[in-house]
Symmetry: C2
Subunit: 191 residues, 2 copies
């Protein structure tokens, strides 16, 4: 490994945000999951959580999402369990969801411990999941089509989260717990 | 057509921004072009401009991008001609391009007549195109991967353009030339 490579790894680990994550509710298209994982890496999200659809896409999807080698992908059996687990750990779970009582995503405080829930390509966030979330967030739209592509919607919200956290100084010093930091440093330094 | 449908059509046309567009430089994956067209519709961009890659993806790509029936797709033979045509019309042509002299996209004034140039999936913006553009814009990143997916990068920048134009009142009254407005109203009202 070159010194430049090691420096890039530590610079990245120094900015990782352990209290920001994405939870996908049966998002199944490999290119969407891959784009979401890539955006998570860029804004400093170390782990993402997925509930797989109960169908044939399962394996293909798992393979692609895993190819984003800088973001750990955790799977959950069902969305209710995943949401409740985050809430018990003190996270807000906020759904990107186009409902009447949704708030403009720029008015949500992303410096709080947050899991951003993204809905599946066709049907969006399930009613059960929507009911369990702390807030619904919407990105205002001005066109004929009713929604953004899911990886696009995730990116717009996560980029806002990044700016808020930057302004709050959350990228200014390392935030990963020491053991987690050292484990990733070891893994990423392997040839 | 229902009255609700007609109302949605006129509400959309009332917000179209004729002086904002996207120019893609050999972006070839159909799902990326489709996601870009969908985002353009959402922020009120009526027309997009594409330079097709010189390869077998040509037809498939054309089909998909056209499926975004609310955004007109114009093709150009080469990127130099397209850039110069916009500049002659008084547009700034700004490349989403990760160079050292690129400015943070939030510091660019998107209320000006602007064509946003997006680079191809693998190689990015060509050297020739980069040299002709008025500015290079960058979205800051904090991870290991060096770039966003192209449709994600376009969406982040266009969403910023939307907010700037909203603050400037550019969505408050119709901006399409009357003949253009009437032509789209007619086309969109067909069953
Ligand atoms: C293609 S959309 C699903 C559309 C579905 N018909 C619906 O109405 O929810 C996939 C996911 O992207 C996110 N999304 C898309 N556009 C959004 C917007 N404007 N605001 C908030 N979330 C959005 C949501 O998480 C949504 O579940
Ligand atoms: C996958 S990227 C191309 C990467 C290519 N290796 C490069 O270095 O340009 C495709 C396009 O997305 C846009 N893009 C991706 N990430 C960007 C960022 N952080 N800032 C500005 N534009 C970006 C650019 O237009 C780029 O040409």
């Amino acid at each position: 490994m070159t010194p430049e490579r090691l420096q890039r790894i530590t610079a990245t680990l120094d900015k990782r945000q352990p209290d920001l994550t994405v939870l996908t509710d049966e998002v199944y298209k490999p290119h969407n999951l891959a784009a979401i994982a890539r955006t998570c890496d860029a804004v400093g999200i170390p782990d993402i959580h997925v509930v797989w659809p109960r169908d044939r896409y399962r394996l293909r999807t798992a393979a692609t999402a895993g190819s984003a080698e800088w973001v750990n992908v955790h799977t959950h059996a069902n969305i209710e369990g995943a949401i409740q687990q985050f809430q018990q750990q003190g996270y807000k779970v906020v759904a990107a969801h186009l409902t009447d009582d949704a708030i403009d995503y720029r008015n949500y405080d992303f410096t709080q411990p947050t899991a951003l829930l993204m809905g599946t390509e066709r049907e969006g966030v399930s009613a059960v999941a929507a009911g369990l979330c702390d807030h619904h967030l919407v990105i205002p739209m001005h066109g004929m089509v009713e929604s953004f592509n899911v990886s696009v919607a995730a990116a717009i919200m996560l980029n806002e989260a990044q700016y808020q956290r930057q302004r709050a100084g959350l990228y200014d010093q390392p935030r990963l717990p020491e053991a987690h930091y050292q484990r990733l440093l070891f893994e990423w330094s392997q040839p």
